[in-house]
Amino acid sequence: MFDIRRGTNGVILLTGRFDAAHVERVRDELNSVTQSCTVDFTDLDYISSAGMGVLLGTQKRLAGSGHSLKLVNLNRHIREIFRIAGFDNVFFIE
């Protein structure tokens, strides 16, 4: 199961398992983001490199206009693979 939706204040909420089969759906949603935005991982159990690549692509696009994604509430497993991939250097992770 996977879901992406907008919460209050424009926060993007990810839920469940973000695997390669959900890349297009998330890319479509993130393409509508044009300003700095928070992505809440509270209910996200899992992400793979496919999902990380979508987030990275959005971060690069937003950086061109001086904006960025902030990632919050990552579980310890996701936080660890973000660290292994060096994503803690390219995202603000809280």
Partner: protein
């Protein structure tokens, strides 16, 4: 446990169910399950993208002694050693970052051993993770 899956991203859902059944049977802890799911997805999607050859991929999950062993076999695959890919420079800045390569870097990082073999036209990837002390009866 051994099962074949159609070489398509639509197989990810049954593939995760298969891995979940295996994890429950062997009472694997959540850190091991996360690493197993990641390895299975990254290796499988790699075969979907680059493999050529047969329409099916065989996925084997096993506990041998204190090790979790994951083995994917793709018959008729093009020779390509994912283990020989150039390492990803994770210190690169956002501007310098390019897509690709991260998945295998993650697999090699979360697993303890990574082996690739291309023999008689089949590609076989075997990755292993030490489980540590096992709960009684697992």
């Amino acid at each position: 446990m051994l099962r074949s899956f159609k070489r398509d991203l639509s197989s990810l859902e049954p593939l995760f169910e298969f891995a979940g059944d295996f994890a429950r049977t062997h009472r694997l802890d959540d850190a091991i399950v996360f690493a197993m799911n990641l390895a299975v997805e990254e290796l499988f999607t790699n075969m979907v993208k680059y493999g050529g050859g047969d329409d099916m991929v065989s996925v084997g999950l096993d506990v041998r002694g204190d090790d979790l062993v994951i083995e994917l076999v793709h018959a008729g695959a093009n020779p390509f050693d994912p283990g020989a890919a150039a390492p990803v420079d994770v210190t690169r800045t956002l501007d310098e970052r390019r897509p690709g390569g991260v998945g295998l870097h993650l697999v090699k990082s979360v697993m303890d051993d990574f082996r690739y073999e291309h023999k008689n036209g089949d590609a076989r990837i075997t990755v292993t993770k030490h489980l540590g002390p096992r709960p009684e009866g697992a």
